[in-house]
Amino acid sequence: MKLKMKWILLTMVITISTVLTACEPLLVLDPKGPQAKTQADDIMLSIWLMLGIVIVVLAILVFVLLKYRASKQPKDYEPPHIEGSPIVEAICIGIPIIIVIFLSIVSVKSNYEVEATPVGYEDQEPLVIYASSSNWKWHFSYPEEDIETVNYLYIPEDRAIEFKLYSYGPITSFWIPQLGGQKYAMSDMITTLHLAADQPGEFMGRNANFSGAGFAENTFEVTAMSPAEYEEWVEEVHETASPLTEEKFEELLEPGHLGRSTYTGTHLEFAPPPEHDHGSANTDGEEDSDLEGHEEHDAHNAEEHSNH
């Protein structure tokens, strides 16, 4: 019995480590951009560190169970009364504290990294894309290019992208695992997500936050391409796509699933995103919507929301 447990646990540990390292890479651990890279590095670091802790606990457990089981000991053995030892307990508190401090430093550093323009892209102006969800679709507005797409996203590689996320309806979460972790899109405020792709490719993107019946299929395709190809695509859209009218947009917002579609113009003009659109923000006398000056607003938003 006791041996069996040991083997089950050992197999478990080995399976986890082999699957995580040897097989074809899992999406999150196969980053294609700097933000996802930061996160994947953190994840691998923590996996190894945590695996170490699990192994230590397991080793102590197996050792005491084998050494001190009743069948191994003389019949008249009376276990001693031990209240505890300050030194042992100091070690048991001290080592976890050191580990937590180390991980906290890593965590805080990464927090600031993933919340800012990706490392190595600071010198260029980021491409701003408004990504809004409606039941159960994604609308991508490119104000710079004056384009809007539904359920697919074309982005230039090696360029910082600044996503402005919001929602028409339930809270959703915008997630492209290979480019970086997710962030909520909500109907009453805009959140900002900084991503970048450092190589061309096709990536899976989805809403990760449960949003009702059509949630499972609430996905989009992301294609990263060279800047030249991207320019070509933008031109092509301007030549071929029809303009996005208010009526058309209302129609798109109806709950349901749609395929991909492309428009010229964006819905930002006639359906402004919920910048400063809730509660206290309206009363502090700032102008409502300001598509250019988003950076100050972000700082303001962050501060305001941490107070809630």
Partner: protein, 649 residues
């Protein structure tokens, strides 16, 4: 909508109709059976009106076990649905209802009553008290909880189940996106059950502070009582938030207010914040008593005192404080900025430190012990590595930058099942097996018990470890289906097999109970495990008054020291004992609460008003009632004592 249309299930399927018929037949069988055996009077006198903490405890236990199987079937259905890509066993709506009710049932109607069963049964015995501080309030707590549970379970046959997830985030749970009455059920059923729980918290804090046996200072309390005390303090601080939250949610749904909806300044993330201000401490309400149980079981079968008693207490106090400071880690992705995320990331990781202290204390309790592998001990030693795995993945999740990748994925689902199942469920099963002889007077079969523990663990590993991997591979939680191309299918199939293996373990548990009722020897004495704390110092079965003479306590393991070190537990003579009277009022009042809740769910206002008046009438009646309880005479006590002592030999 037509009046009667609202009662119809909005998204019927064959499965729901089949369960309706099943429930109907079972209810009928129960009613016919009780009538046939003429047990209505017995039920009313001995159980429904009881104020005895032991019987109330057993009723909590029965509810918990029933809900374990209801929630378990939900779990199996989900795993089966996901075992194959593009499976059509459940449609999206039905799947959403299943995972919503699975979550609510397992946390609030399975785990909560299970721990409250232990509070009820054990705490008065462990502190040498006759009952809890407010016995009738205790009965009311149970019946309110029970009616809340009943109302919630009614949802899937009348009117439709909630489908917005157990966290019920707005605006999804608002009227606009959740059109059936399902979420009304969620708000009101949990509200009624939650009031019961809040009163339990007040009751047990008072009991533990005021009713300990002479000599039992706070630092001489058994570890389970300590954990119960802290858990109840957390209940009293956290549950009012839930009460207010659900009241606001109810108003949004029934009266068109805009607390959480998106118009008129309503804030959706306000729900999430308040939900987790309650929800995160709730996790520790569940896990701390589980830690308490392990701290009773491990020393008993290591035949040693608990290592580091003081640091165990300190760690629980620290955990209880920290549990209120970490709620925002449930939505690092809300866009609150790196500063707030950093704070919550650090406080969350900090919880690993006191938790680690506990793990090491248990390991050092085993050290130099004389370890016997009984079934409760087997659960405890399986718990240590499995829970450690769940704990360390919690630390991984606490790193907020990395959490952007884990959030809302199967990785998270794997993590919290990995702490809740080995942490809470194993503790409950270990505690159940451990205390079964005290409660029912016979042991559960050890061989079957060990098989259950092993099969459960194998099933657990198969069911939940693959989710870590699919989570890192981009499988979001709550997806009812996925395509072949995602590559999730193999691991999800493994998960389903694991869930099925776990189901086998639970069936084996039921068989064990049946087998032991039939074949277990009954002459086991009052202390079959050679245990250490006060609850084993009284007779089996425990007499109504618990202890004929109030015990005198001089150490943290009073009973052990009385057996081995000659501490004298019982000094003085038997005196008459004051006990509370039974009362039907808690049950009647809770039934009116049930009607009130049901009427509120369907907005039948006349009934709401009438039942509200009924509730107030019950309160008024109680406040004018003169009931001073009764005395058990010395002769009667002596007679009982002789009979029980006779039964032991």
């Amino acid at each position: 909508m037509d009046f009667f249309d609202r009662f119809a299930v909005p998204h019927p399927s064959f499965l729901i109709y089949a369960s309706m018929v099943g429930i109907g037949l079972t209810m009928l069988a129960i009613v016919v059976g009780i009538t046939y055996f003429k047990k209505w009077g017995y039920l009313w006198r001995e159980w429904i009106t009881t104020v005895d903490h032991k019987r109330i405890g057993i009723m909590y236990l029965l509810t918990a076990l029933l809900m374990l199987f209801r929630g378990g079937v939900d779990g199996i259905m989900m795993r089966y649905q996901l075992s194959m890509p593009e499976n059509t066993f459940l449609d999206s709506q039905h799947y959403n209802e299943v995972f919503t009710t699975h979550g609510v049932v397992m946390i609030l109607f399975m785990a909560m009553p299970f721990i409250i069963f232990f509070f009820n049964y054990l705490v008065p015995l462990q502190i040498g008290a006759r009952d809890v501080a407010f016995p009738r309030l205790n009965a009311l707590s149970f019946w309110l909880f029970f009616m809340g549970m009943g109302l919630f379970n009614l949802s899937f046959i009348i009117g439709g189940s909630p489908d917005a997830g157990w966290t019920s985030y707005f605006p999804l749970a608002g009227n606009e996106f959740s059109t059936s009455v399902g979420t009304n059920y969620y708000m009101i059923a949990i509200q009624i059950a939650g009031i019961g729980t809040l009163m339990t918290g007040i009751n047990f804090i008072t009991t533990i502070l005021k009713m300990r046996a002479p000599g039992m200072t706070l630092m001489k309390m058994p570890m389970f009582t300590w954990s119960a005390f802290i858990a109840n303090v957390i209940i009293v601080f956290a549950f009012p938030v839930l009460t207010v939250l659900l009241a606001m949610g109810t108003m949004d749904r029934l009266f068109g207010t805009n607390f959480f909806t998106t118009d008129n300044g309503g804030m959706d993330m306000l729900w999430a914040n308040l939900f987790w201000v309650w929800g995160h401490p709730e996790v520790y309400i569940l896990i701390l008593p589980a830690f308490g149980l392990y701290s009773e079981i491990i020393p008993t079968f290591a035949r040693r005192n608990l290592y580091g008693y003081k640091s165990m207490v300190a760690s629980m106090v620290i955990i209880s404080v920290l549990s209120f400071l970490v709620w925002a880690h449930h939505f690092f992705t809300m866009g609150q900025g790196p500063f707030a995320n950093s704070i919550f990331s650090i406080t969350t990781m900090a919880i690993a430190i006191p938790t680690g202290v506990k793990i090491f204390n248990w390991l050092f309790t085993l050290w130099k012990g004389k370890i016997e592998f009984t079934t409760p001990m087997l659960y405890s030693v399986l718990f240590i590595p499995l829970f450690t795995l769940g704990g360390v993945t919690g630390v991984m999740l606490a790193m907020s930058a990395a959490d952007y990748q884990y959030h809302n994925t199967m990785f998270l689902v794997a993590h919290f099942h990995n702490v809740i199942i080995p942490g809470v469920v194993y503790a409950m099963l270990a505690g159940l097996t451990f205390y079964w002889p005290k409660i029912f007077g016979f042991m559960l079969n050890e061989r079957l018990g060990k098989w259950t523990a092993w099969i459960l663990s194998v099933g657990f590993v198969l069911a939940f470890i693959p989710m870590y991997i699919t989570g890192l591979d981009g499988q979001a939680r709550r997806m009812y289906t996925y395509s072949e191309s995602t590559g999730f299918s193999l691991l999800n199939m493994v998960s389903f097999v694991g869930a099925a293996v776990m189901a086998i373990a639970f069936v084996l548990l039921v068989y064990n109970i049946y087998y032991s009722i039939r074949y277990s020897p009954r002459n086991i004495g009052s202390d079959p495990w050679d245990a250490r704390s006060l609850e084993w110092a009284t007779h089996t079965p425990v007499p109504e008054y618990n202890f004929a003479i109030t015990p005198q306590v001089a150490s943290t393991q009073a009973f052990w020291d009385s057996k081995k070190n000659g501490h004298e537990l019982y000094k003085g003579d038997i005196e008459k004992i004051h006990m509370p009277n039974n009362s039907g009022l808690p049950f009647i009042m809770s039934c009116i609460f049930f009607v009130f809740g049901f009427a509120l769910v369907f907005s039948i206002w006349p009934v709401v008003i009438v039942s509200l008046i009924g509730i107030l009438a019950c309160l008024a009646y109680r406040s004018f009632e003169k009931d001073h309880g009764r005395y058990i005479s010395v002769e009667e006590i002596k007679e009982t004592e002789t009979r029980l002592r006779g039964a032991k030999k």
